[in-house]
Amino acid sequence: MAPIRGASKPTGGSNSKSTIKKPYARKKPSTAAEPAPKQKRKFVPKTHTKAGVAVGNNKIKKKDPKKRRLADLAKLEKELPKLNMITPAGVVQPKGRKKGKVFVEDKERMMTILSRVNDSKDGQIQSKLERSRQLEVIRDARRKEEDARYEQRKSKMETAKDAVRNKRKRKNDDKGDGEERETPSKFIKKLTSKKKVSFA
């Protein structure tokens, strides 16, 4: 058989393999032509490792770390006992209310405050007036009582005076029956005149 023309003989050496062109080998496309788009292989998840161990489901969606954290916290909160919480009374503020000072700007609120204040003040004034009226009544009663007592004492005195006068009158009347009646001037003279003693 005649050797095929153009076919180079293997020269031998280490790189002889690379130079051998096999007739059935595919021809490489020319460098000038664009490389044909590679056909994408369909991704088939591995069910087993090379060692033959079954692989678990790796297709778990990774959550957003924030959400994950929140979920973890919520889970923790559920697990914690309720009694373990500390809520100081001064700190907790009801939601939906204004923070800080609440001003009185509308007239109605001012009026309600005013009416409340007025009621309390009126009550105080009324009680004061009532008390003063009661004291006045008591004072009047005491004054009347004192007056009555004074009158009574006065009348008693008058009766006593009258009795003394009548007594004296009666005495005088008794004496005047037998003797000559003494005139008041004579009586006074008699009282004022001193007894005189004369030596002979």
Binding site: F103, V104, K107, I113, V117, N118, K128, L129
Partner: protein, 155 residues
């Protein structure tokens, strides 16, 4: 400068009610010339609303006063009436005492009003009641006073 809070308003009204009673409504409700109460630092002012609105453009630190000063809040939260409030209080005073001319000066020098110096007094004035003291020609004197027991009893 800011409006008063609930508690502050109550304290202010309690004090004013000692002298003008229910007449506080005449201070609040003035449709012809609306006024309001404003607090700047610790002082309470009775201000015309238009002036109060203008005063919002002045910084708190630079605003010294506005309107009529009624009094001040102490650090313990009590309200003290100032003599500048006399104009408004004297107009609506509930209980009044008129002092004879010979008693004016002793009173203004800080002495009590003695019975001999009392010219007139409002009827049904209860004891220990806040009153406004006037001279006999209806000029409010520069002070508020508390009527003592004896003044009420003897007059």
């Amino acid at each position: 400068m800011r409006p008063l809070t609930d508690v502050e308003t109550e304290r202010l009204f309690e004090k004013l009610a000692n002298y003008i009673g229910r007449n506080i409504t005449h201070l609040i409700d003035r449709p012809d010339d609306p006024h309001c109460f404003r607090i700047q630092r610790d002082r309470v002012y009775y201000v015309r609303e238009s002036i109060a609105k203008l005063a919002t453009s002045v910084a708190r630190d630079s605003l010294l006063s506005l309107g009529t000063c009624l009094g001040k809040f102490t650090k313990t939260g009590k309200f003290k009436l100032h003599v500048t409030a006399l104009d408004h209080v004297a107009q609506h005073a509930k209980y009044k005492v008129w002092v004879k001319p010979n008693g004016e000066m002793p009173f203004l020098y800080g002495n009590n009003v003695v019975k001999a110096h009392v010219g007139r007094i409002s009827e049904d004035t209860p004891e220990h009641q806040g009153v406004v003291v006037y001279s006999m020609n209806d000029t409010p004197l520069v002070s508020f006073a508390i009527v003592g027991v004896y003044a009420i009893m003897e007059c």
